[in-house]
Amino acid sequence: MFFHIVLERKIQLHPRYFGPHLRDKLVAKLMKEVEGTCSGRHGFVVAITGVEDIGKGLIREGTGFVTFPVKYQCVVFRPFKGEILEAVVTMVNKMGFFAEAGPVQIFVSNHLIPDDMEYQAGDMPNYTTSDGSVKIQKDCEVRLKIMGTRVDATEIFCIGTIKDDFLGVISDPSAAS
C-alpha cells in the first residue's frame, strides 16, 4: 500500500557546495540518498514530493562537513499481510515462483499454487493447468495475496498465495490474439 508521509533525515554536505545554490544542492543530495531505499518501518521510498523544512546546519568537528536536518514529504510503499497485489513473474522454480510488485519481491511456493497447476520444466519453466488453459511463466502478470512479510532493516520480502478466489494470472505475456 502507498503512503504519503513526512520523514526526516540528516544530510551532510561538503563545503564545495556552499554557495548560492546551497539549498538546491542539498535537496539533490537528499533525493540521491533516499529515493529507492527501503526502511523496515516505512517501506520503500518511491519518490520525494517536497521538502518541508531545512534546519540550521551544524559544522562537524575535524572535517568541514555540515549536517543539515531535513524534513521532507515522500511517497512510500509498504506491503502488508492480507493485501492483494498485482505482480510480474520473474522466475519460475520447482518450489514455486518469484514475482515482483515494484520494489518488493514476493515468493509463491508451490503448495500455495492451486493443486491443478503442475510444474513443467523446460527452457521456459511454467505452471500449467491440466487442460492447458492457464499458464504461469516468466513475465506473466498475476494477482496475488500477501500471506506474510519479513522485514529486515533495509529489506522487505513477502510470501504470497494465488490459491484464493479471484487470484492468479491476469494477463499473458504472449498476448495471444
Binding site: 522454480n93 518450489m95 514455486g96 519481491q105 511456493s109 508451490n110 491443478d116 520444466a121 510470501i159
Partner: protein, 470 residues
C-alpha cells in the same frame, strides 16, 4: 459446590485424549510384560476422588511405582491438568497432612504422637486436580483440533518450511531468496548445498503427486475427519457446556487447604491440645493450626443453630459417627459423633480466651453430666490448692475450670457459667467435705443439684442476663 460434574468432565477428557498414553521410556521393551497404556486414565480417576494428595500415598493406593506415578503426574502437570506442590517437611508435617486428608474425607482422626525431635526434612510432593485449568485446557484442545482441520480444508496453511536432509537445517519460505540456485530449479541448502525438501504439514497429504482427484480426495478425507471428531467428542462437549455455568471447585494452595482441613478436624470435636501444640512446633509448617483457627468466623443466631462462615468450598461438612472403639474417656464429642443425633454446625475451640463462642445444639443432660464431671475434678484440685478466699476460689476456679475444659459446649439460651457461680457459692462450701470423700456419688449428686439449680436460675434470670455470645 459441585464436584460431580467436574469429575465427570475429567473422566471424559481422560478417556478421550489420554487413553493410549504409555509411560514407558522409549528404550524399554513395550511388549514384554505388556505396556501400561491407559494408566493415565486410572491416575486421573483416582485424583478425581481425592483433593490434595501426597504422591507417595497415591502411588500406594494405586499400587504403582512412585517413579512411574511421578512421570505420569509430570506429564499431566505439563498438560495443565494437575497442580503440584513440593515442600520440605519433617515427618510431623507429613502427619498433619494425613490428618488433614482424614478430616477432609471424614474418616479417622489424628494420631497425636509425641515423637522425638529429630527434625529431618524430606521433600514431599503433593498434587491436586486443577479444575478451572482443566476446563480451559480441554476447550482449547478441541478448538485447536478443529481449527487445524478447518485451516487445512480452506487451504490456509501459509508459510512453507524447507528442511535439508543432509544437515537438517530448516528454512522458511522467507529465506527462499537466498536458496535459489541458478543451476537447477530446486532450492539448495546454504551450508551443504543439499536439495531441500518441502515440509508439508498437511493432515491428509499422504499421496504423492498432485492431481485433481487427489485434491478432492484430500478434501473428502478432511471433511470426514472433522465429522468424526464432532461425533466422538460429543459427550465431552455436552459436559463442557453443562459445566460452563457452574462455579469451579477450588481447593486453593496446599497450605490453604491444609489449614482449612485441620481447622475442620478440630472443629469436629477432637480437641486435643497436645496435637495443636505439637503441630504448631513443626518448622516450616507455616504455623497453621492454632492461629488460623481464628479465620473461621462464627455467626451466632440466637434461638437457632450456629452457622460458621468462611466455610471453604469443597469440604464435606459433616462430622462422621465415630465408632465406639474410638471414643475414649474424656473425649468431648458431639452427639453426632457418638452416633446419636445429627447436628449441623462445627465447633471451634478457642481455649485461650474466655470466648463465649456458641457452637452446637446439644442435648442437655449428657452435656451437663460430662461437663460437670470434668468440672468437679478440676475444681477439687483447685480447692486443695487455694482454700483461703472464697471469692478468689470461685472466680479463678470458674475461669480456670472453664478454661481448661472444653468451653464450647454450652447451649444457646441457657444460663452461662457466671450465673451458676453466683448461685452456687453457698453450696460449694457445704459440699466441700463430701466432695473430697466420694467421687462418683458426689459428682452425680452435685450434678443433680446443679441441674436443679440451673433450671431455677434459668427461669429467674434469663431475662436479666445478657451474655454476649460470640
Amino acid at each position: 459446590m459441585s464436584l460431580e460434574p467436574f469429575n465427570r468432565l475429567v473422566k471424559l477428557a481422560a478417556r478421550a485424549f489420554y487413553d493410549d498414553i504409555t509411560m514407558k521410556g522409549d528404550n524399554q521393551p513395550k511388549t514384554g510384560r505388556g505396556d501400561n497404556r491407559g494408566i493415565a486414565v486410572v491416575v486421573l480417576d483416582a485424583l478425581a476422588r481425592r483433593q490434595w494428595v501426597r504422591e507417595e500415598d497415591l502411588a500406594k493406593a494405586l499400587k504403582l511405582h512412585s517413579k512411574q506415578l511421578r512421570r505420569i503426574l509430570r506429564f499431566f502437570e505439563e498438560e495443565k491438568f494437575v497442580t503440584r506442590d513440593h515442600r520440605k517437611e519433617s515427618a510431623k508435617g507429613a502427619k498433619i497432612f494425613s490428618a488433614a486428608v482424614a478430616a477432609a474425607t471424614g474418616e479417622g482422626h489424628q494420631t497425636g504422637k509425641e515423637g522425638e525431635e529429630k527434625v529431618k526434612m524430606h521433600t514431599h510432593s503433593y498434587c491436586c486436580l486443577d479444575y478451572a485449568q482443566i476446563y480451559d485446557v480441554v476447550r482449547y484442545r478441541i478448538h485447536k483440533m478443529k481449527k487445524k482441520l478447518k485451516d487445512e480444508l480452506d487451504s490456509r496453511n501459509t508459510v512453507q518450511t524447507y528442511v535439508c536432509p543432509n544437515c537438517g537445517k530448516r528454512y522458511s519460505a522467507f529465506d527462499a531468496l537466498q536458496l535459489i540456485s541458478f543451476t537447477d530449479d530446486v532450492f539448495h541448502c546454504e551450508r551443504c548445498d543439499g536439495e531441500l525438501v518441502a515440509e508439508s504439514d498437511k493432515l491428509a497429504a499422504d499421496e504423492m503427486g498432485d492431481g485433481d482427484d487427489n485434491r478432492s480426495r484430500r478434501r473428502e478425507k478432511l471433511k470426514d475427519l472433522l465429522k468424526r471428531i464432532e461425533e466422538q467428542l460429543n459427550p465431552l462437549t455436552t459436559q463442557l457446556s453443562r459445566v460452563k455455568d457452574l462455579p469451579v471447585p477450588d481447593f486453593g494452595t496446599l497450605q490453604q487447604w491444609e489449614a482449612r482441613a485441620s481447622a475442620a478436624a478440630r472443629g469436629y470435636g477432637e480437641i486435643d491440645p497436645n496435637d495443636a501444640n505439637k503441630s504448631s512446633q513443626v518448622p516450616g509448617y507455616g504455623g497453621t493450626p492454632m492461629p488460623s483457627l481464628g479465620d473461621t468466623k462464627v455467626e451466632v443466631d440466637l434461638g437457632g443453630g450456629v452457622k460458621e462462615e468462611a466455610q471453604p468450598e469443597g469440604k464435606p461438612v459433616k462430622a462422621k459417627v465415630l465408632p465406639p472403639w474410638m471414643i475414649k474417656e474424656g473425649m468431648v464429642l458431639t452427639k453426632e459423633q457418638r452416633g446419636e443425633t445429627s447436628i449441623e454446625a462445627d465447633a471451634s475451640q478457642e481455649t485461650t480466651i474466655d470466648d463465649k463462642k456458641q457452637t452446637d445444639m446439644m442435648d442437655d443432660k449428657s452435656l451437663k453430666d460430662e461437663y460437670y464431671k470434668a468440672y468437679y475434678d478440676a475444681y477439687r484440685a483447685k480447692l486443695q490448692e487455694t482454700q483461703a478466699i472464697k471469692q478468689e476460689v470461685r472466680v479463678s476456679a470458674s475461669d480456670d475450670l472453664f478454661g481448661t475444659t472444653e468451653s464450647s459446649h454450652r447451649q444457646v439460651g441457657m444460663k452461662s457459667k457466671r450465673g451458676h457461680d453466683d448461685n452456687d457459692d453457698v453450696e460449694w462450701e457445704d459440699d466441700q467435705p463430701t466432695v473430697d470423700t466420694g467421687n462418683a456419688g458426689t459428682s452425680y449428686k452435685l450434678a443433680a443439684d446443679l441441674n436443679m439449680e440451673a433450671k431455677e436460675s434459668e427461669e429467674e434470670e434469663d431475662d436479666d442476663i445478657d451474655w454476649e455470645e460470640g
